[in-house]
Structures are given as C-alpha cells and as structure tokens.
Symmetry: C2
Subunit: 388 residues, 2 copies
C-alpha cells in the first residue's frame, strides 16, 4: 500500500505489527463469546486511557466527525446554548455540527491563528450566558495548537456547563485526566494516537453527560448516532452478553483492543512523556534549520503533531521532495493559513528513529529547495533532545 515509506501525517499513522495483524485476522461472529470479551475489554480499557473510571464509552463504526456528531446530537436540543473554544478548523466544524441540532453557539476566537483564546475571554462569555455545553478541541489538527484543557475545564465546571473535549488528535498522546480535570465527555477516533486504522468513532461520556442525555425533552434528531440505540449494546458487551443494534466492525474493534493493551502496557505517564520528548526533538530539529512553527509558543503547541511554516522561497513542492526521501507528511488544512505550512504527525507508536528519519528528510528536501542553513543542524538538534 505504501512500500517502506514512513507515514508521518497527523493520522492515519504508523501502526504496530500486532494491530495490523489483528486487522487481517479471519473475522468471527459479532456475537461470539471471544469477541464479546474483546469488545468488553476495549470498553474497560478506554476508561483507563482517558482516566474516567465512571464514564460510559461508546465505540461505533465511523470517523472522528461521527464522534463529534454523536456528541452534539445526543446532548443538544433546539435552543440550547453552547460555547466553542476555537483553536482551529475542527473547533469551527463543531460550531456547524452543534448548530445542526438547533444550538445557539457562542464562539471564542483566539487573538491570531496559532494561538488559543484567552481564558479571561472564555470566562467573560461563560458569565453572560446559561451554557449547556462547552467544547474544547484539545489539539486542533489544522493548526497544531494545544488547548489548556485543565484550566478551561475548571472554568467550565465553575459555571456549570458540560465540558466536552474533542480528543481526536490527542487521546492516548496528550496528558488528559478526564475526571480529575472535570471533563464530562471525551471524543476521539481510531487512526491517531489510539493507534488503529481509520474507521472507529469513540465517545467516552461521563456521568453528567449521560445525565443530561437522560433528561432530554425531545428525541435525538439523528438515528444512527442516538445513544438510546447504542447504550444497551455497550452495556451488553461489557457484561459479555452481546446485544445487537448494528453489526460492530469486528476487526477494527479487535485491533483497538490490541492497541489499547499496548498503550496501557506502556503506561499513560510514560506515554505522555514520550510524546513530549518526540515532539520536542522534532520541533528542535525544525527550529535549528531556521523554520518557524505555527503555534505562537511551545506551550501552545501540540505534542502529537507539528505544524511548520515553509521558509521564504520554499513552497508546497517541498512535500514531494520529502516524499522522495521516504516520508509522507501532510499539507495545510486551515483556510487562513492556506498552503504556507506543512504538518507532521508524531504520535502513537512513533519511535526516535522515525523522528530522526523525518527531520532528516525535511533537511534533505530543504537543501534541495535552496533554503540556506547548515545541513545536519536539524538532525543534530533532534538527536540532542532524544539523548536527554
């Protein structure tokens, strides 16, 4: 499918051999006892990964957008007020999704793209309205910006709003302690730091979110996403007594359970630390070559991916050269930034070797693009961080 090239985009990523092997196993019945064990265990493990022991996970065939849609469809009723902390393209998509279910949305924009909204601006908005829900994109894949979920969730709880974290590009990579921080719902997708090929939407709903769902006065507008259909299924599989609603994606769920086992074996603290180190090494490599990051500061930069401006005189043709050097990276995705930057994922099973190879490929491509810098400075800077 991709020969020996390294896939270093912000999802899908490089998956472990064990996960890929699970993908290719001869499929069993979705009602088989050993599949019920696997599905049930995946549900239990998801709680551990996001540190939300009292939550209700949902694992459904779909994409990260379905996870966002499921959240909005089940928690919003026409006229409900929501607040969106905007750090990029995917935060803005949440506005459109919430509005589809009749929500009145207040958006809090950052001072500039690459920055996060000020906490004071969020608090000022929270003071004014009776918001049912606040969404926070922990990492926006379009900008590479990291939101301060802990502080925002604290604010949200103070003002009695449900705190929803879009963790598509962060869960199992960025530090996230859902219950401790007061996060009421975390949503994600399989193909990023969760380490499974694309095809699964994941929603982990805390007690307050489930309570808000149960108190709805109107039916959920969306049939497929309706928790009324899925809750008995998730409870059934967790009790190892399969219940049917739609045929679950057996191979993907088998692969998810393999990946979750690997994630928990590494340990969440070690995993957060590894992502911080890989990110620091990659970013050090970029800045040593004179490149500039999209996030306004390292504190506001994600650890699961890096977003990097092309230097003067270099454009998106750089991607083709990086590809020639054996690494697949991604172009821009934010309308305001257009084709002025590229994106590199470094999450999940990413290794120090992947980081060096990728920095080296960018270095090779920059040298061929006429960018002036000391060749070798990039990988040397990355290696210094990796050796720490």
């Amino acid at each position: 499918m991709k020969d020996r090239k390294l896939l270093m985009i912000p999802g899908p990523i490089e998956f472990t051999p064990e996960v890929l092997q699970a993908m290719g196993l001869p499929t069993t019945s979705h009602l088989a006892p050993n599949f019920a064990d696997v599905f049930g265990q995946a549900i239990e493990r998801l709680r551990e990964v996001v540190m939300a022991p009292r939550s209700q996970p949902f694992i459904v065939a779909g994409s990260g957008t379905l996870a966002m849609d499921m959240t909005a469809a089940n928690l919003m009723e026409p006229g409900d007020k929501a607040i969106v902390v905007n750090i990029g393209y995917f935060s803005e998509r949440f506005i459109a999704i919430l509005e589809r279910y009749g929500a009145q949305v207040t958006r809090i924009d950052p001072p500039v793209v690459g920055d996060t909204p000020r906490l004071e601006a969020v608090e000022a908005a929270l003071k004014q309205g009776d918001f049912k829900l606040m969404t926070i994109t922990q990492v926006d894949t379009s900008t590479g910006v990291l939101a301060d979920v802990r502080s925002l969730a604290y604010l949200g709880q103070q003002y009695g709003t449900l705190v929803v974290v879009d963790g598509v590009c962060s869960v199992a990579g960025e530090e996230l302690r859902a219950e401790e921080w007061g996060v009421d719902l975390v949503l994600s997708a399989s193909q990023k730091a969760l380490g499974v090929p694309p095809g699964l939407a994941v929603v982990i709903a805390g007690e307050r979110a489930m309570e808000a769902f149960r108190r709805r006065k109107t039916p959920v507008q969306n049939y497929y996403a309706d928790w009324t259909n899925w809750l008995p299924v998730m409870e059934g599989y967790e009790a190892r007594k399969p219940i049917y609603f739609g045929t679950p994606p057996v191979n993907l769920i088998w692969a998810l359970n393999v990946s979750l086992g690997q994630i928990l074996e590494e340990g969440m603290e070690a995993r957060f630390a590894r992502h911080r180190q890989m990110s620091a090494a990659f970013k050090a490599g970029m800045t040593a070559m004179g490149l500039q990051l999209v996030p306004v500061s390292l504190e506001k930069a994600a650890h699961t991916l890096s977003t990097v401006y092309y230097p003067d005189g270099v454009d998106a043709r750089l991607l083709g050269l990086i590809n020639q050097a054996g690494i697949i990276v991604a172009g821009g995705r934010h309308p305001a930034l257009g084709d002025r930057y590229f994106r590199v994922g470094h999450m999940g099973a990413v290794t120090r070797s992947d980081i060096l190879a990728t920095v080296g490929a960018v270095e090779w491509a920059l040298a061929r693009s006429g960018h002036r810098f000391e060749v070798g400075a990039g990988v040397a800077a990355a290696e210094r961080v990796l050796a720490e």
Copy 2:
C-alpha cells in the same frame, strides 16, 4: 479469532484471503495517489455491481444501519409520505428511521411472517397517497424472505415514488438490476455478499434520488450522514483528486476494492447463479432432514441465507452442537418467531465445500438432539443439487 471454524452466519461471512490481506496492509495516507485510485475504482465498480451506471455511490465508515439512516436523512423532509414494504425486522427498522426524519409512514405487512405483502396491497396503498419514497428490503436477514424487487419497483415507478432498496443482505448475491428495474437507490453494507469485514456503509443513489436531494427545502437533520458533506468527497476520489471531509477507513476501502474486483471477475450473472445453486443445495439438505423453512415458499426465500425452524423436540441448544461440529450459525432475530428457528448465511465467497460442511454439521447436531431422520439424507440431497 475463530480458529478453523467456518463462519456461516448472515454476515459477517467468510472472506477471501486477498480481502483479509488488504485489511492488514500497513495503512497509507487517505490522500495518497494510489489510495485515490483504489477509492475511485471502488466507486466505479459499485455501479457495475448493482447495474446502475448513472448512479452516485457513497462509501462511508459505518454500518448497514447508517446506510439506511443516510438514505432517510437525505431524502425525507418533515411531512413527507413514505411507504414501507414489510418483510421482516429490518423493514420495520426502516419505519423507525424514516419517522425520525419526520416522515409519515404507511406500512404494508405480509399476511404472515415468512411471506411478502401482496402486490395488490402495495398498489392499493400507492393509489391512495402521494408517496415520496417506497422502501423494499430485498432480503430481510431476520426472516430470510426475498422481496420481488422487480415487480415492486415497477409499481413504484408507475405511481411516481422513489424506489429505495435495502440491499444489505442481497447486494452482490441476489439478482438486482437497479436501472433496468427502476430502482432509485440501493443501500448496503460491507460484511455480507460484498465480502468485506464490517465497517462500511454503502449507498448507491440514482439520478432521481440525487435530484430529490437537491430539491430539498430544509437542511438535512443529520450532520454526519449529510450528502452535502460527502458528495464532493466521492466526486473528488472518483476524479483521483482526494477531497477531505472525514478520514476514510483506508484499509476497509482497500479491502472493498479487492472484493469488488473479485466479484466482477466472477461476473454478476455467474454470481447470481452460484448463489441460487448454493441456496438450493443448502435448502434441499434441510428439507431432506424433515426441517421446515421460515419463508412460505422457495420463490419467496432468499438465496443469500436460509432460515430454518427447529424440528419438534429440538431447540436453540442445537446451535451449540453445530458449533461443536465446527460451524458458526446464527439464532433467531425476528420477535414474532423468537427462538423457534436458526439462520445460516451462504453468500459471497461461499463454496460447495462450505455448504456440505454446514449441512453435515446440522445433520450431526440433529442426530445428537434426538431428531429422527435418515442420517446422511441431508448431505446427499445437497450434493445432488451441487452436482447438477
């Protein structure tokens, strides 16, 4: 995942080694040129499989229920009238889905479970109302009943209603000539006769269905299922110019394209004939052992699966014995029939060996359950059909 047991449920089924190999390939970027080729080709091939050369296919991460939901969400507006030709559990589910989007649904029930509604009853209903849409479940997985899509679609066209075929358990197994028969939309899922592990919803919308979608006066109520989001993506991949909305399930789509290639290599006519023969052989085996089918006649019985009543004195414990004999079959799924019958899938890559093995396992299990019959009569009857 299932050792060497044969998976003979009505989906997921036994998949070919090439399909499973595609599932386990290292994932490439959803924007890679070779993946765009594969996705584009899968779209083109779907048109050939359902014989709808002017249709617009949609391939989305989800289940068959999502395909039903996508159909209703995009074609129904509040107050629209729909008619459901009911042949089982999944026909009835369509009522609930259509109603979710504000449709007024008229249901045409069969005289008894296991039968199809009379054509005259459908026509009488069509005469009375201005129906925007009629749904026909070609094969209802719960009853094993086959609807006469050709005659029903002809009626639907006469009365100017959109004809929707739920082909979850029929596409690529049962004869279906969408454009020739006047079918406006076919929906399906990956894990049945399309021959790919579960995780893909498939909708193939004809020109009149797309036209009805374009004429909507209200926004689609469901964000994830909205064709407004997916149409540019499908058009983009078909033009080999990937466009992003949600990350497509790369491995599943790669596997789908492999399976569609195998289906078209066999040829649709040969495939329909093989399904008819496999079904006839299996059903001959069952009746030779004195068992009775759920469908009221062979003309109304699906060729992709068989639904069989337990004989007197035998109950659902038979499934455990069949499993001991190496074959996984399914229990009942229709509320009115309860636990009085079992279901056996024989579609997709099913072989004559699978049929003999499965009839033999039922025979072995029946002999151990105290059912009185001439042991060997089942496989002999099946073999006679297979040798034709």
